[in-house]
Amino acid sequence: MSNSEKFLTMLSAILLFVAVVGFILFLATRFSGRRADRVVAWLFLAPTVVLLAIGLIYPGIKTIWQSFFNASGGSFIGVDNYKTIFTTSDQVTVLRNTLLWVLFTPFVATAVGLIYAILIDKARVEAFAKALIFLPMAISFVGASIIWKFVYAFRPDQGGVKQIGLVNQVLVWLGGSPQQWLVNSPWNTLFLIVVMIWIQAGFAMTVLSAAIKAIPEDIIEAARLDGVSPLGMFRFVTVPSIRPALIVVLTTIGIGTLKVFDVVRTMTGGQFDTSVVANEFYSQSFRANNQGLGAALAVLLFVLVTPIVAYNVKQLRASEAR
């Protein structure tokens, strides 16, 4: 497609959008009377419902359907794909890694964010300190992964060979020998998790810092009058007051972690036993050409994410209701 063709396509898409919205608005004006509100509401909902059905519900059902078929999608094999996920050693490693990710990332990232938020609260350089830890959030996952690939880079301990990785250079300065951080399982998964924590801690810090600032001053004052220690303040005042925000942060990072893909794909490509469900789903679907197993992994991911999403939405509503 040449550039002019692209612009033409874009222009016609915009015109189509305007036409559809115009038509709906026009229809809406034609209704009046007692039941008009209902009809108008449905009219406005219609485009969203249609798009959701085409873009989300139909592919969703199709993916579930596909997960019961073999590699080429030709013959029905029941739950064999799911059996493969839970019985073959490679796939079990994938599940183990996903579990490691979900166990570590949300809690460590939230803890780091929370402690940081409390430490810098009302400090003189608060804005600067916040920007510092928030910066990684602005980098794409792929960009962050490439940065960390250099941090972990390995060069052998030989005369004339210089370390180019930060971690190994520090290790060499301290008298150690350079390590291959991304090769030895299961530690390599933990080194990948560090990258995600580095990105997400800023998000946790921002949200939690706002929540801390929203704690009513009189509660804090009352606690002070009761002679609470700083630790007691944290345990009995701060944390209970920001509990809804804490849960939202935990679950949001948790959902993002379950779907982690970019970090693994960029840093190890899923090699050295570091693959996770989302990465394996991609490899199976697009590289190994095993549509059935890929779909089953996607469904598994969906099943894992759904309860957290539901809980997240519930908590979000609860915190908004306050």
Partner: protein, 453 residues
């Protein structure tokens, strides 16, 4: 929050785009769409008369070959365009291998695709969109290529497309200077290769260096090692049976082949010169794997002919230069098994102009045109009509002479012919685990278990 299984797909697409975008930025864009440009104005059109007048007709060609290698391709189409009046629309895309399947399945295939693997060609034919090659192409292929090459583009007895470029993989890179200084000689049998490795190792230097890192494709250089050893140990017939899965992946011959590769790649006395221990092979990218030869910390590196491009500018790649390659020897000097790769032109349309262009691409005329517009070299074909004297680059000359050697027995890269679940997944992954410590037995067993039933 209703159904969300499609959600990862978005992430995937985005991540893929981002990942590619980053790497592509350096390479000048993933997708370039332009007609052929440059090249000398063609004056003599007599050879193109048979294609007729194709004024105003367009042919779309879709490939994974991008900047800077795309330029000679476009230039080589120029005489055809000038003489017939047809316009060739060249589209290079780094995501070609997945995208071409998507396009074929969705009913929007290009007119011609340059397919780099027989396995992918079979998948594309299976979509039902590919067109059988016209008789003129088949006749040209019979005339200019060996029978084996025609076989790679034949599915269920029907022949689909002429081979395009070719590469030779059975090469070992070395430093002619170092060989001269230290009195090493180029080995002509596998035993001599082993003896040479021992000799270098005895001198206190690790003889071999290797790197198999290649993003999600990490591990593929090991598959080439194993294929080369399989060809040498068991011969081409057993090799074909292994590739077609007529013998199990974990039977005796393949196991022995991987073990033989292991006597080099997993021997701490032999590897990894200038790069670390055995495990460092897994984290070194394949591009960097042979560079220590220039530093003198490594002497031998097994890699395909394209590796010439990886040496820094100013490196003299020649028999009397800084770096050159020798043929990875066979068991003895009587047979010369050669592992290689290549591309095929697969058509999805039978419009007359597409057929005409497809025919042009299968001629010796095109192969020679292609060579003459690639002054820096880096491209050869197994087309017997190719004039070897036209090649300027010593490594191209070496590769072409290996391909045209009457003793040579050519075999296509095996992993490229195996089903995707093996050739572009399990084989790579298990080879990587093999380097980082997994036993040969466990490796071949796991690959066998992953073979689609």
């Amino acid at each position: 929050m209703a159904l969300r299984p499609t959600r990862p797909l978005h992430t995937v697409a985005l991540a893929g785009a981002l990942g590619l975008g980053l790497t592509l930025a350096a390479c000048g864009g993933g997708s370039s769409s332009s007609g052929a440009s440059g090249g000398a104005k063609t004056k003599d059109c007599s050879a193109y008369k048979a294609y007729g007048d194709l004024k105003g007709k367009k042919v779309d060609i879709y490939t994974g070959i991008v900047t800077p290698e795309d330029k000679p391709y476009q230039d080589s189409y120029k005489p055809f365009e000038d003489c017939t009046g047809a316009k060739i629309n060249y589209q290079g895309d780094k995501a070609f291998e997945t995208q071409v399947l998507v396009r074929a399945k969705a009913g929007n295939p290009p007119d011609i695709a340059i397919v780099p693997q027989p396995g992918l060609l079979q998948q594309l034919v299976a979509t039902g969109r590919a067109k059988e090659a016209p008789p003129a192409v088949a006749a040209n292929v019979d005339k200019f290529w060996g029978k084996d090459w025609k076989g790679y583009a034949t599915v269920n007895g029907k022949f689909y497309g002429a081979p395009s470029g070719a590469s030779v993989k059975s090469l070992v890179w070395y430093s002619p200077k170092q060989f001269k200084d230290k009195g090493y000689t180029v080995p002509t049998t596998l035993d001599e290769l082993k003896a040479l490795s021992d000799k270098i190792a005895a001198g206190g230097q690790k003889p071999w260096c290797a790197g198999i890192g290649s993003g999600e494709a990490t591990g593929w250089p090991v598959t080439d090692w194993m294929e080369d050893m399989m060809l040498r140990l068991s011969g081409p017939e057993e090799y074909d049976k292994w590739v077609k899965h007529e013998i199990p992946f974990n039977s005796a011959e393949p196991t022995a082949a991987l073990d033989l590769a292991g006597t080099y790649l997993k021997n701490p006395k032999y590897v990894n010169g200038g790069l670390g221990d055995v495990k460092s092979i897994a984290t070194t990218t394949f591009q960097e794997g042979g560079l220590p030869i220039l530093e003198g910390t490594c002497s031998l590196h097994r890699q395909a002919s394209f590796y010439a491009a990886n040496f820094p500018k100013g490196t003299k790649v020649a028999e009397d230069g800084d770096i050159f390659a020798f043929y990875l020897p066979g068991k003895d000097t009587t047979a010369k098994p050669t592992l290689g790769g290549g591309e095929f032109n697969l058509a999805f349309s039978d419009r007359p102009e597409v057929k005409a262009f497809q025919t042009y691409l299968s001629t010796d005329l095109w192969a020679n045109n292609k060579v003459s517009v690639s002054p820096a070299g880096g491209w050869i074909s197994a087309n017997k009509g190719l004039d070897v004297t036209k090649l300027t680059n010593p490594i191209d000359k070496l590769a072409a002479s290996i391909l045209q050697d009457p003793k040579a027995v050519f075999r296509f890269d095996g992993s490229d012919q195996m089903p995707g679940a093996i050739g572009s997944n399990a084989f790579w992954k298990q080879s990587t685990s093999w380097i980082t410590g997994q036993s040969t037995k466990a490796t071949v067993d796991k690959i066998e278990a992953a073979w689609p039933k």
